[in-house]
């Protein structure tokens, strides 16, 4: 009996993974990635945050995921190297010579004393100030700014009570981009499983296969097998997209060295995450994505089973997709607005978990209803 069921599941999976749908889904996923996710795989979208990430990477390589006071003293010596790089860019560069800048201290005098105070400066001086912040000079001055930001953040973290902000190294941009990326990954997974599941039950009704199935040895219990196949397909699609998505993210951003850093890093400026590491946060988010995906697939299957034609399925699944993707958009950290309106905002960290469990419970309930309906329906 088990073997037969397994065979049926395999055949149901083959129906779900129709080659036409897979091709369409691949193109859809590529377009979705380009439109909503690609931006978050590039950490060089803003200065001096991108320089902060590059420095943080060097810090992790030099000190590990945490930087203690002694290591911070060593870190202080890095400024000299950054200033030397600025000096190297200034020396012999006509842009700076025309502005009367021959050393980095000249540059800083102009930048801090005159430019920052809003005093009138010549266009040559203006060009020189921006030149050291530009691509031609390797964003040398932005590195100094990023370095100063890191130092001031670290010193501020030391002033706070222990446990409020840790000495872990994790740039805010890496965390923020990963959060947004995973958010969209969740939406993509929900979209994909709904797209593949939607035609399953309704196609069998349209083609008349459903009556044959009911007359077969397995009878109306086929619906149970189909539900298992739908859940399995959702797990497969989500796993494939999540793995591929995360490989793209980490290979593009190079953020893998931060995986063991805690989210309460002194660079993230938030202490609401406790001892949760970046890796644990990603794994937790993935677990929630799986729950949302399976829930979405099961709900879509039931909607499909309750529909008489394809348009009916689409009219039901489009609002469901909007609702589910809205709930899945902030898998672990975000603020689900609906829940906030229900005065749950002080439990922000748990709201997405509550949402995920709610949707899973809802999916299981509607599946149970669907099975019961199938076993009792007289057509």
């Amino acid at each position: 009996m088990r073997k037969i069921e397994f065979n049926i599941i395999r055949k149901e999976l083959a129906k779900i993974f129709d080659i036409r749908f897979i091709i369409l889904l691949t193109v859809t996923a590529a377009v979705f990635f380009m439109l909503f996710m690609k931006y978050y795989t590039e950490l060089d979208n803003a200065h001096s945050q991108s320089e902060e990430c590059q420095l943080a990477l060097k810090m992790v390589k030099a000190y590990g995921t945490q930087m203690d006071r002694q290591e911070f003293e060593d870190f202080k010596t890095w400024r000299a190297d950054l200033e030397a790089e600025c000096q190297r860019q200034i020396t012999g560069n006509p842009v700076f010579e025309q502005a009367g800048i021959y050393s980095y201290s000249d540059y800083m005098n102009l930048n801090e004393n005159e430019y920052a105070n809003g005093e009138e400066i010549s266009s040559a001086q203006h060009d020189a100030i921006w030149a050291l912040l530009g691509k031609e000079c390797g964003y040398a001055q932005f590195f100094v700014q990023a370095y100063d930001n890191i130092c001031s953040d670290y010193e501020a973290a030391l002033q706070k009570t222990p446990g409020e902000n840790s000495t872990d190294i994790l740039p805010y941009e890496v965390f923020d981009y990963a959060d947004s990326y995973i958010t969209w990954l969740a939406v993509l997974c929900v979209l994909s499983v709904m797209f593949l599941t939607a035609p399953l039950a309704v196609n069998e009704r349209i083609t008349g296969v459903i009556t044959l199935q009911r007359a077969s040895r397995q009878g109306r219990n086929t619906v149970k097998t189909q539900i298992i196949a739908v859940a399995v397909s959702a797990l497969i699609v989500t796993a494939a997209e999540a793995v591929l998505g995360l490989v793209i993210f980490f290979s593009s951003t190079g953020a893998a060295p931060f995986l063991n850093s805690r989210l309460s890093s002194f660079l993230v400026h938030s202490s609401q995450f406790g001892n949760l590491t970046f890796l644990q946060y990603i794994l937790g988010s993935l677990a929630l994505i799986f729950i949302f995906s399976v829930s979405a697939a099961l709900i879509t299957y039931v909607l499909s089973a309750m529909s008489r034609n394809m348009i009916s399925v689409l009219l039901k699944t489009i609002p469901t997709f909007v609702l589910l993707s809205y709930a899945a958009k902030k898998p672990l950290l975000g603020h689900v607005i609906l829940a906030e309106r229900l005065m749950l905002s002080n439990q922000t960290n748990f709201v997405p978990v509550i949402c995920a469990v709610f949707f899973l419970a809802l999916a299981v309930a509607v599946c149970a209803f669907s099975v019961k309906r199938e076993l009792k329906t007289e057509e």
Binding site: L24, T28, L35, M310, I311, S312, L314, L315, K316, I318
Partner: protein, 386 residues
């Protein structure tokens, strides 16, 4: 006519469509309710405007100074006093050519495209001159909260309405075309006297039902909008009020200038007309695609995919090229810029009245697609397909 009516009836009998429309309507109501944080000030302005009009003149300012609202509204009276005290016509000395020059510099426009950009802003200067003369700018709209209010009405509520209607239109067209196939009556119908001419009736049925659905959803949403928001009281203001502005990434904050002077009501009506045409355009495309495709699900997926993929095009083609401006005329780009319809449209559009031209282009291409698909459907060998 009888066939046309029965096709319409088939579509109207579709329960899921009504559920979908109800969900869309509920979503629009939710949008209106969640925007309520801006209503208090607008409420005061609306109430005041009903007595003193929307034009900021001596009477308006005197009325405001003499008004004795209750304690709760005194704060808003002070705010409005502060907003109108420094009000002056921004168009009397406004020159639009700097906008063109900034775009030309930022987007590296050359030759014909640069000249066309200058020409567009030369045309806009005429609108500015007209606005300076007719004093349209000296209307209150929502005073300092105009940008938020205008953004909510046109970039949020009406934009959602357009999207929902286009989706409904696409699904209605698919439903209409694939109805016979789903009911297994295709061969029967094709062998009848009417034969494949039925597609024509289906086309008109899906077009008229799409527009009807749009009208219904709009009427329901606007009823809630009129009853539950304070904005209708100030919508006799000119849409180019001195308080209305566009936050432009290239030139900073600049006035909201339409090609012809119009009140907010007129602007809304014009926007609704373009949305209705856009809905019809989507219905045409959906009809054509479903007619040539064997699967209604795949045709829906392809249509949605093509529309989203069109958003990638402006990023692929060279920035500032003619192709760049052409790709910005895709239906999705037009829909995204709904908040700036009937204005110059910023650096993404090279010609005046881009929304009208874009929508007419959509309808023309849609009509050609329908013609081609009808010819295809007429010559299709159904027996061989089986």
């Amino acid at each position: 006519m009888k066939i046309f009516i029965s096709e319409l009836k088939k579509l109207a009998d579709f329960k899921s469509l009504w559920i979908f429309l109800a969900v869309c309507f509920a979503f629009n109501c939710l949008l209106i309710v969640t925007d309520s944080s801006y209503y208090s000030y607008a409420d005061f302005i609306s109430e005041f405007a009903q007595k003193h009009g929307t034009v900021i003149n001596g009477d308006f300012i005197n009325g405001l100074n003499q008004a004795q609202p209750d304690e709760a509204k005194e704060y808003y009276r002070t705010c409005l006093q502060s907003d109108v005290s420094t009000a002056s016509n921004p168009y009397s000395s406004y020159d639009t050519q700097y906008i063109a020059e900034e775009y030309i510099r930022n987007y590296n426009l050359k030759g014909g495209t640069a000249n066309q950009m200058r020409k567009k802003y030369g045309q806009l200067q005429e609108s500015v001159t007209a606005l300076a003369e007719n004093g349209g700018a000296m209307t209150v709209y929502c005073a300092s909260q105009t940008s938020s209010a205008h953004g909510f009405i046109f970039s949020s509520l009406l934009k959602n309405l357009t999207l929902e209607s286009c989706l409904a239109a696409v699904l209605l067209a698919i439903l209409s075309v694939s109805g016979e196939r789903t009911a297994h009556t295709e061969s029967l119908v094709y062998s009848s006297k009417i034969g494949r001419k039925l597609h024509i009736y289906k086309l008109f049925a899906s077009l008229s039902s799409s527009v009807a659905v749009y009208a219904l959803l709009t009427a329901a949403t606007l009823t809630v909008f009129i009853l539950f928001t304070p904005y209708p009281g100030v919508m006799n203001s000119n849409v180019s009020s001195l308080f209305n502005y566009i936050n432009d990434i290239d030139v900073g904050i600049r006035p909201f200038i339409t090609w012809s002077s119009m009140t907010v009501w007129q602007y809304m009506l014009a926007s609704l007309c373009i949305s209705a045409l856009m809905t019809a355009g989507f219905a045409l495309f959906s009809f054509a695609l479903t007619l040539v495709s064997k699967s209604s699900y795949i045709s829906f997926a392809i249509l949605i995919l093509l529309n989203f993929a069109s958003l990638l095009l402006p990023g692929i083609v060279p920035l500032g090229s003619r192709l760049f401006f052409l790709t910005n005329m895709s239906p999705m780009c037009l829909w995204l810029s709904q908040g700036v319809w009937f204005t110059d449209g910023g650096p993404m559009y090279l010609y005046a009245h881009f929304e009208t031209a874009g929508t007419l282009l959509l309808l023309a291409v849609g009509a050609v697609a329908v013609l081609v698909s009808l010819i295809f459907a007429k010559r299709r060998d159904i027996l061989c397909e089986r």
